[in-house]
Structure formats: C-alpha cells, structure tokens
Symmetry: C3
Amino acid sequence: MGVKANVCVFFLLCLAVVLVSGKTGRDPEIGDCKIKCEQLRGAEQDEKLRCKSQCEQQYQEKQRQRRGRARYTKDGRRVPPRLPGNGSQGEQERPQCFQTCMKKQFQEHQGRRSGDTSRRGRGSQTGRQQQQSNNPYVFQEEHFTAKLETEQGNIRFLQKFTDRSDLFQGIEKYRVAFLEAEPQTFVMPNHFDADALIYVQNGEGTITLINEDSRQTYNIKRGDILHVPAGLSVYLINRNNNERLVLAKILHTVSVPGELQTFFSVGVENPESSIFNAFSTEVLEAAFNTDRDSLERLFNPQQQQGGVFKKVTEEQIKQLTGKEEGQAWPFGKKKGQKKGPYNIYKNKPSVANENGVLYEVDSDDFNELRDINVAFSLYNITQGSMAGPFYHAKATVALVVTKGEGMFEMACPHLSELQQSYRTSTGFNPSYQKVSANLRRGTVVVVPAGHPIVIEAANQDLEIVSFGLKTDKNEWFPLAGRDNVMSQWEDEAIELAFGVPVKEVQQVIQKQNQRLFFKGPVRRGRAFV
Amino acid sequence: MGVKANVCVFFLLCLAVVLVSGKTGRDPEIGDCKIKCEQLRGAEQDEKLRCKSQCEQQYQEKQRQRRGRARYTKDGRRVPPRLPGNGSQGEQERPQCFQTCMKKQFQEHQGRRSGDTSRRGRGSQTGRQQQQSNNPYVFQEEHFTAKLETEQGNIRFLQKFTDRSDLFQGIEKYRVAFLEAEPQTFVMPNHFDADALIYVQNGEGTITLINEDSRQTYNIKRGDILHVPAGLSVYLINRNNNERLVLAKILHTVSVPGELQTFFSVGVENPESSIFNAFSTEVLEAAFNTDRDSLERLFNPQQQQGGVFKKVTEEQIKQLTGKEEGQAWPFGKKKGQKKGPYNIYKNKPSVANENGVLYEVDSDDFNELRDINVAFSLYNITQGSMAGPFYHAKATVALVVTKGEGMFEMACPHLSELQQSYRTSTGFNPSYQKVSANLRRGTVVVVPAGHPIVIEAANQDLEIVSFGLKTDKNEWFPLAGRDNVMSQWEDEAIELAFGVPVKEVQQVIQKQNQRLFFKGPVRRGRAFV
Amino acid sequence: MGVKANVCVFFLLCLAVVLVSGKTGRDPEIGDCKIKCEQLRGAEQDEKLRCKSQCEQQYQEKQRQRRGRARYTKDGRRVPPRLPGNGSQGEQERPQCFQTCMKKQFQEHQGRRSGDTSRRGRGSQTGRQQQQSNNPYVFQEEHFTAKLETEQGNIRFLQKFTDRSDLFQGIEKYRVAFLEAEPQTFVMPNHFDADALIYVQNGEGTITLINEDSRQTYNIKRGDILHVPAGLSVYLINRNNNERLVLAKILHTVSVPGELQTFFSVGVENPESSIFNAFSTEVLEAAFNTDRDSLERLFNPQQQQGGVFKKVTEEQIKQLTGKEEGQAWPFGKKKGQKKGPYNIYKNKPSVANENGVLYEVDSDDFNELRDINVAFSLYNITQGSMAGPFYHAKATVALVVTKGEGMFEMACPHLSELQQSYRTSTGFNPSYQKVSANLRRGTVVVVPAGHPIVIEAANQDLEIVSFGLKTDKNEWFPLAGRDNVMSQWEDEAIELAFGVPVKEVQQVIQKQNQRLFFKGPVRRGRAFV
C-alpha cells in the first residue's frame, strides 16, 4: 500500500472522526470515537491505531478549547469555563457572584435566626469558606491552567481572566504567571509574544536579554522589577546556592488577546520543541550554510536535552554572572538598550506606620511601566494589622500574595432582593455584597476599579504585590483613617449625607488617625485559618 | 433544626432551582419554579418560602442579564436584547436596519405606484414614523434602561450601545446619562467606575470633587463642560430657587466595557446601600477605631435616609456654595487638582449665520478632553432652518437634543435589491438608504463616522449637543453650501464625475453661499410633529 | 387597493418571511421561502413577486452576515465562517490549524514509513499543497470577499481577518485591499470610514485629497507610501499611457471594527449610489438653494454614469495632473495640510547583499505612520535566494506579494500528540508545526508576533511588501546568519542550551556570515510551483 492509498484511508479516518463529532452535536466520548475507528472498513491495523490516537488528540484539543474559549448553552448564554476541582455542572451555568451572594444571604439569615448577636462576624466567617471557592475575583492553585513542574523548577500560568468571568473583559490582554527556579539552575533561552513585567519575589538571579544588536545582563534580586519587551530572547540563572529564585510576572499579550506562545530555539524536551524543527531541512541547510548532519547534532540530538530548567555548576554560574550589571554586548552599541531592573525599595514608602508599609512605583519613577501600562505597588502588612478600606480610582488591580497569610474583603455592587431590577442594571441605587477570601502565598485577587477593599494580615506579616492594570499611575482613596474621603466633605455635606449632626459624624470618621494601615480587628468567633 | 441541617436543606433548594433551569434549557417561569419549591420534600414552610423568593431573585437576575449581555439564537446568531416597548420577538431576531430599509423601500414603491409626484417627500414622511422606532441609531425615552425617579430629581442611563446593535462595537465603552435635580436639591456623594464628561444643559449648581488630598468646589452653569475622572468622589447641589439643574453626561467606563457601577459611602435608601455595609463589623470597628454602636448610628440608622436627592434649605445652600469657584481644600495642596469647568461660549463660534450657530471645543481648548477622548460641540439651529448635509471625518458622534424639536436624516450605506451581495459586503459600490427620526428634547442619535446627515429645526430653535467619541478633535466636512467638498474638486474632476459640463454643475453646487446652516426645506406634505 | 391596504399585505409578507426563517431555526432555503410567497392568500401577483424578491434579498443579507459575523454551533463553539471554495461543512467546524497539523503529521509519518531518507523535504512538499488551502494564515484570490471588476479597473477587499480565524482578534480593525486602474483612467471621488496606508505597487498616478479647507494634489509613483486619513474625500488618476496603476492598501477602520463603508457623492452606477439620493428632495432643494430639476440633472441623470473607473483623454489627464506635487488649494491655507507621499527608496536599505535587499520605513522616517499605527517594509529577494529564518518582535505582519513567486514557511506553536494538554494551553513547552504556502503575486500572508518565518524566491525575483500592524516600528530578530539571536548568547549559555561543546555550536551558527538574505536551498524533490 503506497503513500497515495494511505492518504486516502487517512482522509476516511479523518472524516469518520469528524462525522462522529458532527453527528452527536457534542464532544465525542473517546470511547465512542475509538469504537468507530475499530469498525472502519478497509483500514489496516496501524490505521486503526492512528485513528484512535486521533480520537485522543482531538479530545484533548477540545478540552483545551473548552478551557481556553467561550462556550454557550443551548439558549445562548455564555458558560463559564469548567475548572478543575469544580463539582456540579449545573452550578456552573449560573453566575458565580450571584451564587456567592445567595449563600451569604442565607447564612446571615441563619445567623440572625439562631439569635446570634454578632451576626456579621459569625456569618461572614462561615461564609468565608464557601465564598472563596466560588467568587470570580479570587484565584487559587487550581486556577493555574498551565504548569510545568520539574525537580529544578516550575512555571505556572494563571488562566485567562475572561475564562473566569465576563467581568474581566477590560483586562483580557493581561496574564499572571509565576516562575520558580531551584538554587543553581539555568532557565533555557526563549522569547514570548507578550510584554512582561517581572517582580523578583525571592532570591537572586542573573537575567540576559538579547536585543536587536546587543546583549544586556542584569543581576536581579528580591524587590526588583524588570520590563522585558515582547520578542526579546531571554535566559535566566538562579545564581544562589541556597535560595529559590521566585518571579511573579504580569504579561501583556501583543498578538491574540490573553493567549500566550513561548518560542524555544533549542528543544527543551525533545527535538520537536525547537522552533527550527518546523522548517524544511533544505531551508535550514541553506540558512546556516551547513549540512544536515551538523544541524541534527545541534537541534535533533539522540539524547533528551533535559527540559526548561537545568542544574548548573558553581563554575558555570561564575562565568554566566561574572559580568557587571547592565553591561551591554557588543560594547558601544546602545540602540534599543534597556535600562534594566528598578528596585522598589529605592522609593521612599508612600505610607509607613507600625501597622504596615506601602511602596509605590509608577511611570514617573520607572518609565518602562508606560510601555506595558502597569503601575506597581507592594503592601507589607504587620501581623495582626490591616490595610483599608480603600479603593483604586482607575486601575483594575491584580493582587498577588507573596508572603504570609490573611484575609480579604471587598464590597461588590449587586442585586438585592428588595430592589427592582430595572433600577440596578447600571448599578444605580445598588446594594453591596461582601466578597471575601482567605489569602495565602500564591493567591491572586482581582480588584475592579472603584471597589472598596480591606486586606488583613493573620498571624504573620503579609506581603502583597499589586499590579495596577491599564494605567501607569497608582491612585487610590482611603475610606477610613487619616485623609479618608468623607473627612474631606464639607460640614454641611456631611450633615446632609448622614442625616445626623456633623459633630457626631466627625467623632467617628476622625477618630482613627493612622493612614491606610490600622491595627486589625478583634475576631469574636474562632480565628480564621 | 440547627444551622447545619438548615444549610443542607438550603443546598437542596438551590439544587432544585438549578435543576429547574437546567432541565428546561431556558429561563424558568417563576410559576414553575415556585411549584417545584412547594413540592420539595423535607422542606419546612419557611424553606419553601425562601425557595420561592430565590425563584424571584433568580428571575430578576436573569432579566437583568438579558438586558445587559449577549444572547444567541439556536443557530448561533446574536440576538439584539429585548427592549421595553418592543413588540414582536420575531422582528427582533432580524437586523433592525434591514427591516427599516425593507419598509422604506416598500413605502417609496407605494408612493411611486399611487402616482404621487412628490414621492421622496411623501414616502419619507410616512416612513419617518415607522423608522424611528426601529432604526438602531435613534434612542428615545424607552431606551433608557436604568432610571431613578424621585420628587427631588431623577437619573437615567441610556442602554449600552452594543445592546442595541453590533454596529456600535467601536463605542462600547461609552454610555450616555442624564441627571435632573429640582431647585434646592443636594445630590448624595458617590463615585463611579467611569470617566465622565458633564455638560450643564440647564440651571446653576455647585459641584464638589474629592481628590486624593484636596477638595475642589466649582460653581457650574448652563454651557459649562466639566471632566470628572473615574474614582473621584463627587457631590452636587442645585443652588437655584426656581430652575432645574440638568446635566447630560458621556461616561467612558474604565472597568467592564459599557458596564457602570456607582458607589455610595452613605446608604441612600436603606443601610444596604452603603459600601460600608459589605464589610464585617469587626473590620469596620478596627478601621474606624470605634465601637459598633457609633458605626450603626452613622451607617445603619433606624430611619431611612431619603434617597439620592435631598431637599435643602436656603441656609444650607449658602454654606455649601459660598466658597469661591475652583477653591481647593486644604489650602496650598495642589497635587491632582483639576482645572474645573470650561464654558463652551468662551470660544468664538466656528460657524454663525442667521440659520444657526456652532460652538466647538476640542482638546486644544480644554485639554482634559484628551483624557476621556471626546470632542464637544453645540448646534443651535434657528427655527425653520437646518444644518448640513455634512459628515464627521473620524468620530462616531452621539447627538443629544437639549432643546426644541426637529428632524434628522442620515444616508446609511446599505444592501440594495439590485446589487449582488458579494459586491456590497465591504460597502463598495453601495446604495444609500435614508434613516430618519423626529427629534425632541432627550432624543439621542448616534452618527457613525463618514455618514452624511441633515438636522432640521421645527417650529422653535433646536439645540443639539454633540459628543464626538474616540477622538478629541472636531473634524467634519460640508456636502452643500460654502466650502462643500465638491466645490473643491478641480473642474476636470467635476466634469468626469458628473458627466455634464462643469458650468452646469457649478451653478448648482455654488448657488448656496451660506456655510453649514441653511434656510430649511419647504415641506410639501403635512408638517411633521 | 390603496396605500394603506398595501401596507397591511406587505406586513403579512414580511411576517411570512420571518416565520419561515423563524420556524426552521436556520436559514430558509430561497426555494421554501418563495413557495410560501406563492401560497400567501389575499396577495396580488405583484405582491407575490415582491415577496420572492425579499426572499432573495434576505438570503443575500444572511449570506453577507454569515461572512461578516460570528456563528455558533449548537453546543456553542464559534464556527469559522464558510468561505467560497471551501468544501465540506464538517471540516469547517474544526480549527483549521489543527486539521493542517493532523495532515502534516500523517504525511511525515508516511514519509518515514516509506523509508524516505529526505523526510522533511519530501513530506513538506506534499503537505505544502494541502496546507495552503486550509491554513488560516495564507490568503489567496478566493479570500477576497468584495470585488468590483470593470474593463477600466478593479478593487478587491480581503475578507475580515476575524472571519478567517479567531487568532486574528488582535488585528480585527485592519483590512487589506487592492486597487488596479488601467492606463488613462479616472477613479471617482469617495471617502471611507477608515484610515488608509497606500503603497504604490506599480505605475504612476495623481491623487487629490480634499481636506477641510484645502486641496492637495500629489503625483505618486512606484515605491511611494501615502497616508489618507479617514473621511478625506479622494480622487485618483492613472496618468500613464501604458502602465497599470496598482495600489496595495492597509485600512484601519475607525467605526465598526473591520467593517468598511465607502461613500460616493456622485452615483457611480445608478442614481441610488449617490449619498445625496438618501435625503428628502425638499431637504436637498433647501441645502443647495435650488430646484428639484437642477438637482435631478446632476444626481439623477437619465443615462448611467459608467461606474467607479472612467476612461479619460490625454487632454483631461494633462489638465488634472499639470499641477505641482503637493500643491494646496486655495493657496496660503495650511490647516490640516498633509505632507503627501514618502518614497521608500529614499531610505538606505537596512540590509543589502547579493541575495536580497530590505527597505524599512517607520514613524521616525514618516511620522504619519504613527497615526495609523503601521510600520512598513519591502523585501526584494533575489531569484533562488531566501530571507530568514527571522521573527518580528511585536508586530503582527501582513505580507503582500507584489512581484514574483516563491515559498513561505512558518513555525507555528502547536499541540503535539506526545504532550499532555494541560501543559500546552498557554503554549509552554510546545512543539512547533510547519505552516507553508506557495507565494504568487497577490498572496497575502499574516505572520503573528514572535513566529519565525522563512521566505524563499523561486525562479524570479520576489518582491514582498510588509505592513507591521499595531506598531509604528520595525523590529525583527534573525535566527540564522550574521547577528542571529543565538550568536549573542554567552558561551556558557550556548553550552547549557545545546548540551554540546560551544565550539561545535559556533561552527554551525557562525558559519553563515550573510545577514538576513541567504542563498536559497537546493530542493531535492521536484521544484515547487
């Protein structure tokens, strides 16, 4: 049976696979698909096997699409993508926030009924556990859809924001990712179709960017932020003997909104994982002006290359990191040179008291933030203290917990039982529901513009990195404590708004004289976590 | 029955609700839903009641979503959202413009058949009545989806443009809103997740913006435009004893495109309508460094607060508006201070003759227009006169009728019976259909870039405010009268284009020597309106 | 039967049409629709005819919509729009790239099985034929959805990118178009709702832009690029006696993303194709201050005007093109004046050797490129030579073949059989598939940011114009030859990445000392084309 005949059979197989999926109108069970393969007439055994493998491949492709793209129910509403770890399908078809609120209301109702005088306290603590897994603003371990884990390190990408909720349409171009490299590890060269802002969360490394006609090598350390423009080839080394190197990244995709592609020149796992493998041999021979054998030794070696992360020796580290910071190669060429990392601790804290410290970096400090349209800040909240309530003026903010544990509350404008729906469709005259979450290292919380939040540290200091998306300025307003919004209202406005004498109001809103960071609440129920 | 058992029953109830909606594959009728609640086994009476209330809540939520989000038919086309006042569902599923054109063509055809010599005149007038309610470019009272109406004032938001038609995808981030406050009325402090451009259509007020660390108070009057950046807390007073204060606003949403949320610090109708109500009591106690009782007196008082609009006394007005315009508080702080309102009558009119006056303001005059990417202009068309035909170069324009009555015509490139579809899918070699509408105070018309329009004043002067979206420059081209596009063609081009001697063409296109505003048409049929 | 009764019948007809489509839940076959028309009771013969013509009209409208808008399958996945020349519907419902890759893998597998030692070469050549028609990156003649063809010239618009694939969401606002005018031809005045960048691919012409209050006339020739802002009225003449004038255009739509409308003042085929025809007669009489008869002579003449392209005499050409280049009229008025064409050969080539020449123009050279956010370059690849492998840093690039024939290969990150799906959903640890295409005059290829490509000239010189979308800078990285990305890695990084001694690697990656353009491959199979 020649090549030509095989092609024909192959098309029959393909057609079969297509028919299977077409007929049922929904994803074919792998089982069904494989049975059809078995029953195909005129197919040899290896064709059948190939057919079955196509079943699997197609199924995985569809799975991937399900996660990555919109789905719609029969009556046309958008289905939130199914997430690993989420149970009932039925629940998924209803808006998550609505569900959250229903539960919360019920629990508070229960609290009231059971005669608990501390209803908000009690209710919210029970609620906290429930809400966390369902509310669309909080992302935990299970919301990272792509993971690469090896002994030497790991890379994790948070799911696309719009796969979680339509509420995130405004930030669909952004992605969050983490990279962790063990001590003495080299990360293979690659380039991305996204601009990246990297925050060095822990450890010490050396990063090399290959620009159009120069090379920059920077030593990076905890507290540095670094902008890597899309398309720049990058490699990285954890040069420390003991500490992990941990990077938190915001990626601003430049091609398909929210979709990322990584390109490796050298195959990281197998020959197919090199971009050169996609070209015809003759083309590569001509491009490199060399013969196939030489190319195969480099790009198609017999043994596996060993993956994205590679253990390196002290000697290799010394050679790779011995250069001065920011040194460009070849010397003298300046075109396109980047200014390298900016250490956030350079800036005087914007706020600092015994309860917490806030560092802020915007494009006035570090003008590359303008290119990626992100503002950066770091909250360090003392054990047992809290930040807020406050809100961000314009930015939708991605908070990333980098150290410690704590609690998060947000006021979410929402439908209430008592209001008529026509009034609330633009959020006018709304009521606000609490969205809350436990925070731990790796939790990501998205805070939409204008939404008031409180962040609370538990039994240890809580460090949170904040990426302000779609703006290169940090702008926020406190709702309690010094300079709070209400304290700036005129006396008459205060009296009109509250309907009680201004003195009484001021006694309350001016009593707290700290700014942003306060002593935390005394929990009446059992301590959280 | 303890809390725990109740939770279980509650989840059963939830599941039931979910199943109901899941099974039918479409929105559950409230009735059906409630029946299922009644039939739930093991549920006590109050559980059943709660279940039923969830039915209602869910139904309202869905209603809200239907208005606010895309729906799709079984074969996957997008369904234009159902609007209040729109009848047949079948009609809704077909593109509105197509429908409009079908009707119009038929009516003109009828005109021709019945031997009417004045066919365009007659036909269009019959058509006018029909088209107005169906064409997607014209918005009337019934297209305002959120309304708050009290004795002291009202706020109305126009539906999302993309809920009306996919043609408005390019301007989906913008919303139009109106606010009217009775004499001597205070509007409660709030902030928005949108940048706003406010035009003072009528009356006199005083507006206060709370910035990061300063407060600005401005007196505003008819003809002022003011930019309020997203997140700034604002309160407002109508300080006049007799006149209504009327504001027309363009809102540029910064979070979810086209979706707006309003945030009130102090509850405007009930305690739930304060953002503080969403936080745990302990958290608020800690933030304000005070006890629960004090907080409850402020944020959770026994009596209702009385809503967004509050009647005020002359004395209160005096105190709230006695400050100088643009005064910042605390004195000396300048960071983030805004420059306040710009009066459009400051500018010399761009065009002025006995038939009309045009004022234009762009970012060169008022540089805050750059921040919201809007250009502003105001047409004052004399009774019996008209503006145009003319077109906007780049802006899609939202025209808002602020005074008087009149008529609008627009040339809409469209499919014609005679053309083959492949030719027209990009609008090449098209024919143009008339879109027309009656104008009255409050009508909003969206004019896409490049589309020629005519605006005609009826029996009184017509005032129209024009917000040019997605550009901060006013750029338009007249198609008749002085400086019209054709009058600038070279003689040979004119002759080639028209196929008649250039002299004959120039006699026609140079006869009208006014610019933009002309004496209006003599209507041969009955007068409109 | 009076007008009123007719209206009723008409609505019945409409309803019938609606019901037909509504009931079946899918597009009505024209046949069915017409039968219903025939069966309508109470309808006269002409009503029936009109009903049938509505069937046709509606069908065409729907066809247009199918091409222009998203469709969804029953289970909610987006259906790639059906293209002319595409066969099986079933195939269409699966992602094209997946299909491409499946076929390719199979063919390579076959190559391997049949003992072909030159597998990449062989496999890819068979694959090439197949892939070309299916891969979403390559556009040929059949992907132009709007065409106007007359004896004197033609205009063709490439389909919307997003109609081809969701992968092109990032560039949905851009369109590609071609215009060809025979010698001595005038192109009728018109304006667009898009900013245009025009490249003069061949011939000599004279173009006139009508600005707000001035007129600019420019002589244009091969190698010129010209920016025409949205809304400017434009006419054009091919002033050469022998050569065709050929323009390639990038259009950046300013209204509905990716949708274009053209506006003609003077009817190009029939009276309906003038924008003035859409306005009421009385309105036009008033606007032009003249009577109906004069208007009808101009805008509604008895004889056809003869279309968009008009044959002109030498005398007319002399008069239309006798003015100096860039001359503005009326003299002295400068507001809004544009700077006219920029000849790309003005710039020193960025790269030039015996194998090819690259000209690049960005906003630093020609600052109007900033307005349309496009970077321009031109590749001239010598017969038998090639460009690349290289990739673009940030731009998604539209390559337009303007001369010659050749071959294209691209590395496309994609799902492979061996990888687990969770790993690949963000493209991490991917494998790369080859996308290839034959190139000939008129082929358009879209290259996403970051994707490595090779362009190869066949038996004649190959000229390719490259529009870099969404950036006004040209930034690209070579992957072979002088300055290739790998050659800039440090020795230790090279050794770690390749896992072989650095010397061996450098022997390969430094052997080719040309930059970008190389001697082409020796094809072992039969020559392509």
